[in-house]
């Protein structure tokens, strides 16, 4: 099928296109030079913005953890439900939408690729079954390998190459996309009721420190040539004073970066940018982190913005979730995934009038505005931890308009308002910078070559928003901007129109991307490993890998490793 998008204002930062009026031609799901104008279906995009389809680098949308969250929160669903239509299936929201609804809601906002972080390897099959039921978007998942016993042992023994081969086997057999590290060492320590407090604390029984895990896996990542960097949820997350840990984490892999390429991605950085000694004296550490990131090129971040709403927090960071339960007194789930990792879920209400929550809200925006290069910081809410992904348009409005921020500032806790750095920041992002933060930058950081841009040969994943950059001033008309990003005029996935005027018009299965890592000598499944699987896991080693037939639409990406 051929498609011609005419006269739109195109924002394609990867190819250096900044709001130029041009036509985009699509043929067989790819962007092409030209199409037969008489035959092609035409979309008149005059007076509209054309961007590559949105990419989300970090959102918990599938897996056992998300599903437990759904079970835990019937009250989250009963006010927010969607009836089935001729095209779509029914489903419920709000903070943890059912799988189909997740796909539809992303698609309505013009998103076409989403990444599900934190997949416990044991739950990989479950995660992939849910991902297969998430339509409209391409997706991938990051297995949790930071507290994986075998990794810890290889790293303790200094066997980097063996570790790399093992990680390659793990990524391929869990059908994962990147190495996810959550509170390195802390999760293993949580198995014994403890936690680690700094990068140099020893992990019980393994005689290894978080620093060694981070550095080791960063080296492994390079040896394997993985498209994304290590994806790190820092130690001490959500504790006052933890901005120092975040800085330390970034510093610890500084020397491992080369060619100005990023070596580490710090995810939901807002939760790692707390200054102060306790909750009463909490302040924003955004400035220090921004200064560091502005001066270094080996780091990328995502915001983890907080939205004032009732949401559900879920991470693999068991000890942090326990702290959160103690703070909130809400119902909770805490789970030890056999020998692999932990998990926790706590419903949480971020309130405007709470000092801590208001400061958190401010930190996220400060990070995004103080870091000068939009290629280094991406827009996320760490869905659903900071708020549901459906609030991205709100964040876009805050980033583009000082007036919108002031309106929100007026309503927050007065003490937090007086301590916030936001009133002193005049920066207002342009449409190009928003395009970087919501698609181009994320695709680049993920190493997705055919996504996040509209160059020749790229996937025809396109979002069109009904906004005219020539006539509209986003800093004053922020409500119009918010509305436009909430309901895309068109979303085009694989060259097909799937959303028109914010409504789904076509149901489409997205592909599950995974890395097929080719190593010269494959990892040894030793007798010792088999024995341990038999003794400590509920699943035998032979049944452990996820086979390709688990994926509805499989999209393997070949990676040539250096080992």
């Amino acid at each position: 099928m051929e498609l011609l998008i005419r006269n739109g204002f195109v924002y394609d930062p990867i190819n250096g296109v900044d709001g130029e009026k041009m036509d985009i031609a699509v043929k067989d799901g790819k962007i092409v030079e030209r199409v037969n104008e008489r035959k092609a279906k035409k979309i008149d995009a005059s007076g509209m913005i054309v961007m590559p389809g949105g990419v989300d680098i970090h959102c918990h949308i599938a897996g056992s953890e998300v599903n437990s969250g759904r079970l835990l929160r019937p009250e989250d669903h009963f006010r927010d439900f969607e009836r089935k239509t001729a095209v779509t299936r029914s489903g419920v929201g709000y903070s943890i939408p059912s799988t189909f609804t997740t796909g539809y809601r992303y698609s309505r906002m013009g998103y076409t690729t989403i990444m599900n972080p934190s997949m416990p390897p044991l739950e990989a099959k479950h995660t992939h079954e849910e991902l297969s039921d998430t339509p409209m978007v391409d997706k991938a998942s990051y297995p949790l390998l930071g507290d994986w016993w075998f990794t810890l042992e290889y790293l303790r023994d200094g066997k980097i190459e063996e570790c790399a081969r093992h990680v390659a086997w793990m990524i391929t057999s869990t059908k994962g996309y990147a190495i996810k590290i959550v509170n390195p060492g802390g999760l293993e320590a949580w198995g014994f009721g403890g936690n680690v407090k700094s990068l140099d604390d020893q992990i019980p029984y393994f005689c290894i420190t978080p620093r060694e895990i981070l550095r080791g896996l960063c080296k492994v990542n390079r040896l394997l040539n993985l498209p994304h960097t290590i994806h790190v949820h820092t130690n001490n997350l959500g504790k006052p004073g933890n901005y120092l840990t975040a800085l330390e984490t970034m510093k610890c892999v500084e020397d491992l970066a080369s060619d100005n390429k990023p070596a580490i991605h710090i995810t939901h950085c807002q939760f790692s940018a707390f200054k102060g000694s306790d909750w009463r004296t909490l302040e924003s550490g955004a400035e220090e982190i921004a200064n560091y990131v502005n001066a270094h090129s080996h780091v990328t971040l995502d915001m983890g913005q907080v939205i004032f709403t009732d949401t559900t927090t879920m991470t693999a960071d068991g000890p942090f979730q326990y702290t959160l339960y103690e703070l909130s007194g809400n119902k909770w789930v805490n789970h030890d995934v056999e020998t692999e990792t932990s998990a926790g879920i706590v419903p949480f209400h971020y309130r405007r009038k709470s000092y801590v929550h208001a400061i958190q809200w401010s930190i996220g925006l400060e990070l995004a505005l103080l870091i000068k290069d939009p290629w280094k910081i991406f827009l996320t809410t760490d869905h659903p931890n900071g708020g549901p992904f459906t609030s991205y348009p709100k964040i876009i409005a805050w980033l583009m308009s000082r007036k919108a921020r002031e309106a929100a500032l007026k309503r927050i806790n007065p003490r937090a308002r007086s301590r916030s750095l936001l009133p002193s920041i005049n920066r207002e992002l342009s449409f190009k910078e928003i395009a970087v933060m919501t698609r181009a930058g994320q695709a680049k950081a993920l190493g997705l070559k055919n996504k996040g841009h509209l160059g020749l040969g790229a996937n025809a994943d396109i979002a069109i928003y009904n906004l005219n950059p020539e006539t509209i001033d986003p800093s004053r008309k922020f409500r119009t901007v918010r509305k436009a990003f909430k309901r895309a005029a068109y979303t085009i996935k694989n060259g097909k129109i799937v959303v028109k005027n914010g409504e789904i018009v076509k149901h489409l299965e997205g592909a599950t991307m995974w890395l097929d890592v080719k190593v010269s000598e494959s990892a040894k499944i030793t007798e010792d490993m088999r024995r341990r699987f038999r003794e400590y896991w509920t699943v035998e080693c032979e049944n452990y890998p996820v086979t390709e037939n688990y994926l509805e639409v499989s999209h393997p990406i070949n990676v040539e490793a250096k080992v």
Binding site: L72, R73, P74, E75, D76, F78, G329, N330, K331
Partner: protein
Amino acid sequence: MITLTPKNEFRFPIIAECINPDIFYGKTPKEIEELGIWEGNKQKKLGELFKVEETKMENPEGKEIITINGNVSKVRRIGAGMKSGEIIVHGDVGMHLGEEMKGGKIIVHGNVGGWAGSMMKGGTIEIHGNVGDYLGAPYRGSSEGMRGGKIFVYGNVGNEAGAYMKNGLIKIYGNAGQFLGLRMRDGTIYVQKDSGGRVGACMKGGKIVIGGFLEFVLPTFTIESIKEKVKIEEGETVAGPFYLFLGDLVENGEGKLYVLKEKNPHLSHYERLL
């Protein structure tokens, strides 16, 4: 005044949030008949299931009064979210009566299903019959209990009445089931007769008064004193003496549980702890 009479006996559950004085107000019987309701999985019109009659009378405050004559025990969500006016039912009523109501009055001369007055914020519900479980309790999983208003029950109630209650008053003139005032934070619950066990489990605040037999007090409650009388609401006190227990200590709670001394001689061993 609008009178609704069921045309025949209902076989399927009916969801009828439109039976609400705020919605009926200012509408002619014809318009009321056109309002949509669900019978099972079928969308129907109110007029298909109910006979709608209007009785002209003086409504001095401009409020609507709805009278329902007949058995509506399969009809759910009557008066949900109502803000003013009155609903009078002569017969049994189904679940979710007056859910999230903010004002007005509901009077039922019959029995009521579960979740009556669930998540209520204001207004009054008067029930001259028995009530099912979860009276004034929140929706499943939610912690937003009753925040205001008054519920009077002249019969018995089921389990978990007043769960997660934050404010308001529940007065029960009959017996109560188990877990009365579960996780309650504030407000008052009064039971004139007996109550099932585990009263006030996990309560953090508020007041529960038991005027009848209570088999046992949870071990996480501690006796504080013996009180001669207890205030239920402005202008109403109940004469005792009452044992006053504080709890639930598992939650560091400061809730007050009053149990009538006269009806509970088996609790006298607590007295030596005073």
